[in-house]
């Protein structure tokens, strides 16, 4: 266990190193980037940047300076806003995104799994067809369009929910739904096909041949096996929620990290772009590690990254 974790942690650090390097190179290539020689930025920031990264030093020195700071979780000063560091921006905005993200993940998982299971249990009935129509619509409607439509109908026309901001639970409902719908639809389809596979498997026949009733067969035997692909989808789910937050936070005017990122892109606030990119990547790597650990808890065949048996 300990060795496995160390190994995983090592490969995480390597991945992050690549990501930091790639972002550094990309920003280097950017016209008017933070490390380019010609730029139009306030003199205070230029001075700050100079102190921090030594803008007149050769490129590789700048790179090592940046790398060293990132290793200490220091992403440097904002490129646009005087007196603000990238860490400040991340610290103040991340909690909004985290709350919204967790709520969306919960929605996507619970509704998606539920729809998938009932569709599989009622295979080829109207329940199945309805669930799958909902799923294919969920996949086909882009999240920002759904967000706008929800905002228009529930907030502007009906006035039952707040239009924007992030002040109470009611404020979170529309953005969370908009963010959760597409991954929810994927999960529903995944769960349905996995459940259908499991329901046709031999061990379900064995369970039925024991005289267990359908409910017990479904919940005790089928569900736990069928949920595995959904667990492996948790990584992509986090990605979907994360990138979805770029537009959703913008539309609902939520001061989260996604909105900050989009802002930094529009403003060409390069240090913030770099910092948030590295932060997002780290977040993603950690969640993938958590998913893998979760997997070993659910599937007895997998012991810390090693396949324990065949089949």
């Amino acid at each position: 266990m300990g060795r496995y974790l160390i190994q995983r942690f090592g490969s995480m650090v390597v991945s992050l190193f690549f990501i930091v390097t790639i972002t550094f190179i990309l920003m280097q290539l950017a016209p008017g980037g933070p490390f380019a020689s010609e730029k139009k930025i306030p003199p205070e920031i230029e001075q700050q940047m100079n102190e921090k990264y030594g803008l007149n030093d050769p490129l590789h020195i700048q790179y090592f300076n940046y790398l060293k700071d990132v290793a200490q979780w220091d992403f440097g000063p904002s490129f646009k806003y005087t007196g603000q560091s990238v860490n400040d921006i991340i610290n103040r905005s991340f909690e909004y995104s985290l709350l919204l993200g967790l709520e969306s993940i919960f929605l996507a998982l619970s509704i998606g799994v539920f729809l998938g299971v009932i569709a599989a249990l009622r295979h080829n009935t109207s329940v199945d067809y309805t669930a799958m129509v909902i799923a294919v619509l969920g996949i086909s409607v882009p999240n920002f369009i759904l967000a706008a439509a929800l905002q228009y109908f529930f907030a502007m026309k009906l006035g039952v929910l707040p239009v924007a901001r992030f002040d109470s639970f009611l404020h979170t409902i529309l953005p969370a739904v908009a963010l959760a719908t597409t991954p929810m639809a994927f999960i529903a389809r995944l769960m349905r096909s996995s459940m259908l596979d499991v329901l046709n498997s031999d061990y379900i026949k064995t369970a039925k041949a024991k005289g267990l009733n359908e409910r017990v067969v479904t919940y005790r035997h089928a569900l736990r096996n069928a949920i595995m692909p959904v667990v492996s989808y948790l990584g992509p789910l986090v990605v979907a929620i994360l990138t979805g937050s770029f537009v959703i936070e913008e539309i609902f005017d939520i001061p989260g990290l996604g909105a900050e990122f989009v802002n930094s892109v529009t403003n060409r606030d390069y240090t913030v772009i770099m910092g948030t990119t590295v932060f997002f990547s780290a977040l993603l790597l950690v969640s993938i590690l958590l998913v893998d650990l979760l997997y070993t808890l659910i599937d007895p065949r997998i012991k810390f990254g090693k396949e324990g048996g065949k089949s």
């Binding site: 690549f18 990309l26 294919v136 996949i139 892109v265």
Partner: protein, 312 residues
């Protein structure tokens, strides 16, 4: 099923003469035999939803060329006399804040969005198939290095990569497509590699090799055609993804730039005026959803039709 009662005595002696039959008859496979693609097509045709999707795409394709001329307007001329007009006989889909005809813009946007979506998906397929086929066919060291590169590129979220690239690239139609395909091909490469690895150990490849066919020939004459099914399905499902990505980027202001119009830019402009002119959002949004839906149902239909497991 039990036969109607038969009185044995009713049978004639002549019934007991040996049955004369064609020798080949016994070896013939009973039941209708159809080729894989014929069978797949027959199953696809039964899928009403997929056929509907095909119809939608054909209709959108035609309208993207005829839409502008039909309306009598072009997509870029501002007309400050008719800004923000609701749909009417003059302007079927209304006008935008600059007085441009939304009907004409919608079909022009269709052209751009479909072009980007299909182009990006095609480039993904080309790179992905070549990369995946080489890695899967040669295996070993080559495979390991090629797939490791793909893995590293894949570990950064797709949209994040595209956004970062668009920050540094000059904005334009082709740079957009370039950014979208920069890591977009990886998924296809993985699928093709998996298929090729599985197929290359099969007998007919061995047979071809024994007969002296060289690697290129084996790879492109034997392996690629057999991976065509999964490739087609992935291609079809990549297109709606690409259309979504374009709209997403345009929404963030990183996509197609004025005067070009895509459904994404139209949506983006309309969302800011949503409260007052919802119809401006409705038309581009509706067509994005319809197109994505159409490609998704076609892709699903093809997957169901091509999946041999469904042949039962």
């Amino acid at each position: 099923m039990s036969q109607p009662e038969l009185n044995r005595a009713e049978l004639e002696q002549s019934d007991f003469e040996p049955l004369v039959r064609d020798e080949a008859e016994a070896e013939k496979i009973s039941g209708e035999s159809t080729s894989y693609w014929q069978d797949a097509w027959r199953r696809f045709k039964k899928n009403k939803l997929a056929l509907f999707g095909m119809g939608v795409i054909v209709f959108l394709g035609i309208m993207s060329f005829l839409g502008g001329p039909i309306s009598g307007y072009d997509y870029y001329t501002n007309d400050y006399m008719v800004t923000n007009k609701a749909p009417s006989l003059e302007h079927w889909f209304g006008t935008d804040p600059l007085g441009r005809d939304i009907f004409a813009r919608t079909w022009y946007g269709a052209k751009i969005s479909l072009f980007i979506g299909i182009m990006a998906a095609l480039i993904d397929v080309i790179i992905g198939v070549i990369w995946g086929a080489i890695a899967g066919y040669f295996g070993g060291r080559t495979d390991e290095i090629m797939m490791r590169i793909a893995d590293i590129l894949y570990s950064v979220p797709y949209l994040l990569v595209v956004i970062l690239l668009m920050v540094i690239l000059p904005q334009g139609l082709w740079t957009l497509i370039l950014a979208m395909t920069f890591t977009g091909w990886i998924n296809m490469a993985r699928i093709v590699r998996g298929q090729v690895m599985q197929l290359r150990s099969e007998e007919y490849v061995l047979a071809a090799r024994t007969l002296g066919a060289n690697s290129n020939r084996i790879m492109f004459r034997h392996l690629v055609p057999n991976t065509l099914g999964p490739i087609l399905v992935t291609l079809t499902l990549t297109i709606p993804n690409a259309i979504f990505t374009e709209a997403f980027l345009s929404y963030l202001g990183l996509g197609v730039q004025a005067p070009l119009a895509s459904w994404g830019t139209m949506t983006s402009e309309a969302i800011s005026a949503l409260q007052y002119y919802p119809f401006q959002l409705f038309f581009p949004a509706f067509f994005i959803c319809l197109t994505m839906l159409a490609f998704n149902v076609i892709g699903d239909g093809m997957r169901d039709a091509l999946d041999p497991k469904a042949r039962k």
